[in-house]
């Protein structure tokens, strides 16, 4: 009965519309797999849990949870006891329809069979390519043996021929003499030279490239936790990627959207999150932003945040001891060194991250072109970012790499986006079957002034 009614309700909403609502309002705190807790509880089965109460209560809860708690609703109070002090934001602007839609979406996501997550393009395909390089070595060794045997044979035959010709002084050359022959030296030098040139050229080309670059960052921000575990959409924080050339490193106030509620980290406790607070001037003890933070001295700031760290240490350990003293001291020292550097002597102000992906100044790259127009996943270029504790440059970001992708990648929405209508010949070819796809290269995507101007 409960299931049936849940099912009936679910049919009342449109999951597709609900997806948008979820993305805009819920996705920042609730896991989109609907099965695991994040900042907020897992939403799967929410309707069952609320089935004992009128539907309106659920609406009220979603619109303004604190209101419902204050009114003493038993379910609301139970949830609050479990989750406090994390407060759910109020969404008074959500209509009943919105809520039905989002509930439908939750139900759909919760009940659907788990699909194997699509891997990033680079590693997609599942099985690794079989490595056949050992074969080359086998061939090399066989050939080398054959060469040695042949050379010995030739030497032997020469020797025999000499003997036959009556040259009594003739000697069978020693094995080592083979390596002193002109022919061998010529071949050997040629190979050495070729290998040297190959290496030098390759190294020269790679000068300035940073594939695998994984610098230490001022904050141990973990993409594995945020994007991997909690499945926060990349573009939620890197909001520039949709609309600008820059993906945009999120500002501290973006972090505060969630971390005003989550003040102590699961891995590093107060050590890392306090850096954000100290950057923006948020006092977690009083849950308020500090007035005239910019004018405070380092000592004053130290007082505020060491108090916070000390309090949290006490909460965690029950008392404040010598270890606590050193921990707080160390954490503070780390905060100071992370938020200051040779050009920035104040703790206040922006967090200066180390740039991982550096394109040269003469390259123009636009994120929105690739993300919004091209519909690419971030992972295509940035790799399995959701698995990285510390971000690493995954792709070589070389011109060859870019061009190669432009040659292979099909233009997204070539048929649907009216912008591309001016490419009438390509459309005709597609329609007539003369062409199976239109790649970025076909519409000029490998020309110099697409990236260099």
């Amino acid at each position: 009965m409960v299931f049936a009614s849940a099912g009936l309700w679910a049919q009342g909403g449109d999951p597709a519309a609900g997806k948008l609502v979820f993305k805009n309002y819920c996705g920042a705190c609730h896991n989109k797999d609907m099965k695991t807790d994040m900042t907020g509880p897992a939403l799967g089965g929410v309707e069952e849990r609320w089935a004992d109460y009128p539907r309106e209560d659920l609406y009220a809860w979603i619109r303004n949870s604190q209101g419902l708690i204050a009114s003493g609703h038993p379910m609301a109070v139970e949830l609050w006891e479990k989750w406090k002090p994390v407060q759910m934001s109020a969404f008074p602007n959500l209509t009943d329809e919105d809520i039905e839609n989002v509930l439908a979406f939750i139900e759909q996501e919760y009940t659907k069979q788990p699909v194997v997550a699509q891997g990033p393009a680079g590693t997609a395909g599942g099985e690794a390519k079989a490595d056949y390089s050992w074969l080359y070595w086998v061939i090399f060794v066989v050939l080398a043996v054959v060469a040695v045997v042949l050379s010995r044979l030739i030497a032997r035959m020469k020797y025999l021929a000499e003997l036959k010709a009556g040259n009594a002084d003739a000697q069978m050359p020693a094995f080592g003499q083979m390596f002193r022959s002109k022919a061998f030296l010529t071949f050997f030098s040629f190979f050495v030279l070729a290998w040297l040139s190959f290496t030098v050229i390759n190294r020269a080309i790679n000068l300035g490239r940073q594939q695998g670059y994984q610098p230490e960052q001022p904050i141990k921000f973990s993409h594995a936790t945020h994007a991997g575990l909690h499945k926060i959409d990349c573009k939620f924080c890197h909001d520039g990627a949709r609309r600008s050339k820059h993906s945009v490193i999120p500002s501290a106030n973006t972090c505060m959207n969630c971390h005003r509620a989550i003040k102590v980290g699961s891995t590093y406790g107060t050590a890392e999150l306090t850096k954000i607070f100290a950057s923006i001037g948020y006092d977690p003890s009083t849950d308020s932003y500090i007035e005239n933070y910019d004018q405070l001295s380092q000592e004053e700031i130290e007082k505020i945040y060491t108090k916070w760290m000390r309090d949290q240490y006490m909460v965690a350990n029950g008392s404040f001891d010598a270890i606590g003293e050193t921990t707080v001291k160390q954490q503070w020292a780390d905060i100071v060194s992370s938020l200051t550097n040779e050009t920035k002597d104040k703790i206040q102000g922006p967090i200066e991250w180390v740039r991982v992906h550096n394109l040269p100044d003469h390259v123009y790259y636009n994120h929105s072109q690739h993300v919004t127009v091209g519909g690419l996943e971030c992972q295509t270029c940035h790799g399995p970012i959701e698995e990285m504790e510390v971000v690493r440059q995954y792709a070589p970001l070389s011109m060859g790499w870019c061009v190669n992708c432009h040659r292979q990648t099909e233009v997204a929405a070539f048929k649907d986006n009216p912008y591309y209508q001016s490419y009438h010949r390509l459309h005709e070819e597609l329609a007539s079957g003369k062409r199976s796809k239109v790649t970025v290269e076909d519409i000029g995507g490998t020309e110099c002034q697409k990236c260099h101007y």
Binding site: R203, L207, G208, Q210, P215, D239, G240, R243, S244, K245, H246, V248, I249, P250, S251, A252, N253, T254, S279, I280, N341, G349, P350, I351, E352, W353, V354, R355, N358, P360, D361, H362, Y364, N366, S368, Q369, T372, V373, A413, D416, N417, P418, Y419, Q421, S422, Y423, H424, R425, L426, I443, G444, E447, C448, Q449, K450, H452, Y453
Partner: protein, 1085 residues
């Protein structure tokens, strides 16, 4: 009349010594590599030992190894702490604001990136400028990042600036004001109604205070004449678009006079040929003594000596008076040619009665009164001159500055406050006297933002914000209100002048405000709420009204049209006129488009922008006339400047009124006989680095007339013989010469100067083509003939275009015919040569400034140049301006000679230049028939990592553009080029890419408005149209005209830029081509 109608030319050198000219012009770069200057004999002869060789080899290897093993420096990515909602890094924001400097006005959109203003665009909602801009407005963004700005308040002690705090300064000023009996505020024209309210509060608080207004280049006679005729000192509304016949007595209304952006648009609307069968062109006559920008666009120029202007006006008045039964005035004799021409002109004007407009730039009251009388005779009032929206763009009265000087001399002034750009200690004709009188003023306060001569003599400096940091408003024309909003927080500890004055006036309306809402913002808003909001009815809520006005940048109210047109006392007017002088030599002084009265001299972009007519940069050369003997002989005044083409100018000593100065000369066409001309505004002494002692200050040579108005000419001129030579002749007129035909004096053969060495003539090879289509011109009389001629020439050219090695049709079918194919059209009748596009291009594309010395070596980096060609009569020629930039040829000759394919063609028809691939062979530049490619000879932009390569523009401490302040103006979407690479116009590819992306993101077709080049948006007259040749947009319409041609089309390289032929509205038949006859053969006695 000595005449040759068949030729067009760029300068005397070309006409006189064709061979030499060819030699110079045939090379892309005219000089040898400048090695001999850096490598002395000693260096060249120094023996190199094996030991040295090994040393260098070892060092080189070691250095390379170390450099290669260096770690890549750590780069930081710094996000906002709290990101402002409206800023998305990487996306530009546009704010409507107002460029105002004295009376110069332009409503603008300021493009900001990451909070930095980087480019000025026109605001199309403005009824005055309609989206047009001027070179001055375009360049104004660079002034914001001027390293010489005052960085805070201070006092001048022993000629040195000593910083102080605002509190200290306010205290000192208040003390001085409280004990002062006479306070004087001196200002240039001020357009701001709110600021005027501030001044009113100030003068009410200090009853001894008075505001005096003057302008650096004066229009006070015009204002005085208005006072007499219309009852108020206003500039009436001129309608150049409604006039069939326009006569201007020395008023440079397209370049500098009152409201050039507005007038240029009006003027050009009647100069375009929309329909070749019925050309509806206005007829424009310019009566002047040297060639101004406006004169160069005229259909007919009547040459008079500067002192003859009054008599010429009187002559025209008399001729018209005779026809209309009005009394005549005494008119002295002027030169015969001009007298005859004016008589003829009067007939034409009379027949255009009601559709004629006569204006004058004269600063003589009598002249201006007679002009008003002439316009009354012609029924201009109510037709071509209106009062609905009178202009307020000039308010300065010369007599007010003189009045102040008199008071100061008497020691009667206690406190003098000098506002903004006002610089009386340099600008006034008697500036020396003013400087002396300043010592007699107890307290002097300057509010200028950048050091000037007056500020250096003041006691306190209370620096004002730059306009891009300011709140403010302007009322350029009655009822048109333009808002100014800051686009960046103040860079320095400056304060708005309005706020300072309110504080000093202890105003009751002063609201200290907050950091977000500074006091002057509150004051401005209050002023609008109390004064403008009640006058409108569209909005009932003030905040909505305010938001809307701020968004648009413009708010208009119906204006009061209540001005009288009183009869002019012509006899009295004639009595006030200046009489023609009998002096042998006269000199005219004029305002240039770029430098103005000197207030713009601190801007390197404007300093390096060539004067449109003289084509000179960084200096005010004295224009000297050239004379032609009717044969092959050309002689310049006193035989000067024989070596102009080699980058040499002669120096002479000029004495006027007992003051002697050494000036550089330039030969100039279109000067009246025995007349010299020099530009105002050069030779500043206190300005910071740029503009410092560039050129000669001519202000001391100016005089005052009977009415106390400044006289912009001198008659007692004595010029010495050559006293020296300037080897940095920074004139670009002989640079990048293209497609010009000459005649070999030995063989008498016609030659293409840029290709003469390639082939013998008329052999059918590219190099043998002689009929070069650089410029087509004709007159309205033979328009049909011109159309026919262009058609014929273009069909001849087709042969060469089609007989190409390259399979164009295949490319066209495969690439160009689909997607985009970019193209441009330039209407040479709408182009007035004002140079706004050139500065816009510099700002948009990070084009470096190279300085005077480098310009003289042909190293200017401008991607867009405006070629100026003379044609017609040698002694009084017509002019055509041809903006020339990369033509993006579809069979580009530059592309196939590049050894590294750094320049190649895109499927959208762009001739792409990839800087990072360029190795600097310069083959492309050598092979470009248009000579539009520029080579970075030195590290002009200081992008190089080796400081030794950096180039100094002037004597600045840090190379121009190397300091972080100036670099803030750079467009982050365009690469800054380093030494050793070629660069050129890219059709603003960054804008194309942005426009395409916007369309893609919005999922719609591309429209014209998405892709507009910087030059196109800057143009006040809409002469440039950019677009997609594959679409049916604006460009397609323009390309329909039968007057269109492609420059050097016969070379077969398929350029993408079309030009329309230049047409002059005259009965004279200008043969629509360059004829076969060379110069000097076809002259009529």
């Amino acid at each position: 009349m000595k005449k040759n109608k068949q030729n067009f030319w760029v300068g005397v050198a070309q006409l006189k010594d064709t061979q030499k000219f060819e030699e110079i012009s045939s090379n892309e770069f005219p000089e040898e590599l400048p090695l001999e200057k850096t490598l002395t004999e000693e260096v060249l002869q120094a023996p190199a030992s094996r030991r040295d060789f090994l040393k260098y080899l070892g060092f080189g290897l070691g250095a390379a190894t170390i450099a290669a093993s260096c770690d890549i420096p750590v780069k930081r990515a710094i996000p906002y702490v709290v990101k402002p909602d409206e800023i998305v890094p990487g996306i530009a924001n546009y704010y409507a604001s107002t460029f105002v400097r004295g009376g110069d006005y332009c409503s603008v959109l300021v493009k900001t990136r990451e909070g930095r203003p980087i480019k000025i665009e026109g605001n199309s909602l403005c009824p005055v400028t309609r989206g047009g801009t001027s070179a001055r407005a375009q360049a104004s963004v660079l002034d914001l990042y001027n390293v010489n700005r005052f960085q805070g308040p201070g006092m001048m002690k022993d000629g040195k600036f000593k910083a102080m705090s605002w509190e200290e300064l306010d205290k000192k000023v208040s003390t001085a004001l409280s004990s002062a009996a006479v306070v004087r505020i001196l200002t240039h024209t001020n357009l701001s109604p709110t600021f005027k309210a501030v001044l009113k509060e100030f003068t009410e608080r200090y009853p001894g205070a008075k505001v005096l207004t003057y302008d650096p280049v004066s229009c006070s006679a015009l204002l005085q004449a208005s006072e007499a005729t219309h009852g108020a000192a206003i500039v009436p509304e001129f309608h150049f678009d409604k006039a069939d016949t326009i006569v201007s007595f020395g008023a440079d209304f397209l370049g500098t006079w009152i409201s050039p952006v507005e007038y240029a648009r009006q003027y050009a609307s009647r100069r375009r040929i929309e329909d070749v069968k019925h050309p509806n062109m206005s007829y424009h006559v310019q009566v002047e003594s040297h060639m101004s920008l406006t004169g160069s666009n005229a259909d007919k120029r009547i040459l008079i000596r500067p002192s003859e202007q009054g008599a010429a006006i009187a002559a025209l008045y008399n001729a018209l008076a005779a026809k209309n039964g009005a009394p005549a005035v005494p008119a002295p004799k002027i030169n015969d040619k001009a007298a005859a021409a004016i008589k003829e002109l009067s007939n034409r004007l009379q027949s255009a009665k009601g559709k004629a407009l006569v204006v004058s730039g004269s600063n003589n009251l009598g002249d201006q009164l007679l002009i008003n009388a002439i316009n009354q005779l012609l029924d201009s009032y109510g037709n071509t001159i209106g009062f609905e929206r009178v202009s307020k763009q000039r308010q300065g009265m010369d007599r007010e500055a003189q009045e102040l000087l008199g008071e100061m001399n008497k020691g009667a002034v206690d406190v003098l406050i000098v506002l903004g750009d006002a610089n009386p200690a340099w600008e006034l004709p008697n500036a020396e006297e003013f400087r002396a009188a300043m010592a007699k003023v107890k307290t002097k306060i300057s509010m200028v933002g950048v050091p000037n001569e007056t500020a250096s003599l003041c006691d306190y400096i209370a620096p004002d914000h730059h306009y891009l940091e300011s709140w403010g408003d302007a009322e350029p024309k009655a009822g048109v209100y333009s808002l100014q909003q800051p686009t960046i927080a103040p860079l320095f500890n400056t304060r708005q002048a309005g706020e300072s004055l309110l504080r000093w006036a202890e105003s009751a309306n002063f609201d200290p405000g907050t950091a977000e809402e500074p006091p002057y913002y509150r004051y401005l808003k209050k002023f609008w709420k109390e004064n403008l909001f009640p006058q409108q009815s569209a909005y009932s809520d003030f905040q909505k009204f305010w938001d809307h006005s701020l968004h648009d940048g413009i708010f208009s109210l119906p204006a009061n049209a209540d001005y009288a047109v009183n009869p002019v006392d012509v006899q009295a007017a004639a009595g006030m006129q200046e009489k023609p002088s009998s002096a042998e030599l006269e000199m005219a002084f004029y305002e240039t488009v770029n430098i103005g009265g000197g207030q713009y001299a601190t801007n390197p972009w404007l300093m390096e922008m060539p004067d449109p007519v003289a084509r000179t940069t960084w200096n005010n050369y004295m224009a000297i006339p050239v004379y032609w003997d009717g044969g092959n002989e050309w002689k310049a005044f006193k035989g000067l400047n024989e070596n102009e083409i080699y980058g040499m100018a002669d120096k002479v000593e000029v004495e006027i009124g007992g003051r002697k100065q050494t000036v550089d000369c330039i030969r100039q066409f279109g000067l009246a006989e025995n007349t010299l001309a020099m530009a105002l505004g050069y030779g500043r002494e206190q300005i910071g680095v740029c503009g410092y002692q560039e050129g000669v200050n001519v202000n001391p040579w100016l005089g005052l007339d009977k009415n106390g108005n400044v006289r912009y000419y001198a008659t007692d001129v004595a010029v010495s013989d050559k006293v020296g030579e300037d080897d940095a002749f920074a004139c670009v007129q002989y640079h990048h010469t293209m497609g010009v035909k000459g005649k070999d004096p030995k063989t008498g053969e016609e030659l293409n100067v840029d290709e003469k060495t390639v082939m013998t003539l008329r052999e059918g090879y590219q190099g043998g083509l002689t009929e070069r289509s650089v410029l087509y011109y004709g007159s309205t009389k033979n328009l049909a003939e011109l159309v026919e001629h262009i058609k014929e020439k273009r069909s001849e050219a087709q042969e060469w275009v089609e007989n190409s090695l390259y399979p164009y049709d295949e490319y066209n079918e495969k690439y160009y015919s689909q997607g985009h194919h970019w193209g441009m059209h330039i209407d040479m009748n709408a182009c007035i040569g004002c140079g706004a596009c050139q500065v816009a291009c510099i700002a948009e594309n990070n084009v470096p400034v190279v300085g005077r010395k480098e310009v003289s070596r042909h190293h200017e980096m401008t991607w867009l140049r405006i070629d100026r060609y003379f044609f017609g009569d040698y002694e009084n020629p017509h002019v055509a301006y041809q903006p020339m930039m990369c033509q993006h040829c579809d069979n580009a000759p530059c592309e196939n000679v590049c050894p590294v394919a750094a320049t190649n063609h895109s499927s959208e028809g762009l001739n792409q230049m990839t800087y990072n691939r360029c190795i600097g062979t310069r083959y492309c530049a050598n092979n470009c028939p248009y000579k539009v490619r520029r080579f970075n000879w030195l590290d002009f932009s200081t992008a190089d990592i080796f400081p030794a390569n950096e180039y100094y523009v002037s004597n600045e401490e840090v190379p121009f553009g190397a300091d972080n302040l100036t670099r803030m103006v750079l467009n982050p979407d365009v690469t800054v080029r380093s030494r050793g690479v070629i660069e050129k116009c890219s059709f603003c590819v960054q804008r194309l890419q942005e426009g395409k992306l916007t369309a893609k993101k919005e999922g719609r077709k591309l429209v014209d408005a998405d892709v507009r080049s910087a030059c196109q948006t800057a143009c006040p007259t809409g002469a440039i149209t950019f677009g997609d040749l594959n679409s049916k947009g604006d460009l397609a319409k323009r390309l329909d005209s039968p007057l269109n041609y492609y420059v050097l089309e016969e070379v077969g390289i398929r350029p993408s830029v079309a030009y329309s032929a230049r047409v002059v509205n005259t009965d004279e038949s200008l043969k629509p081509e360059r004829g076969e006859e060379a110069h000097g053969e076809n002259h009529e006695g």
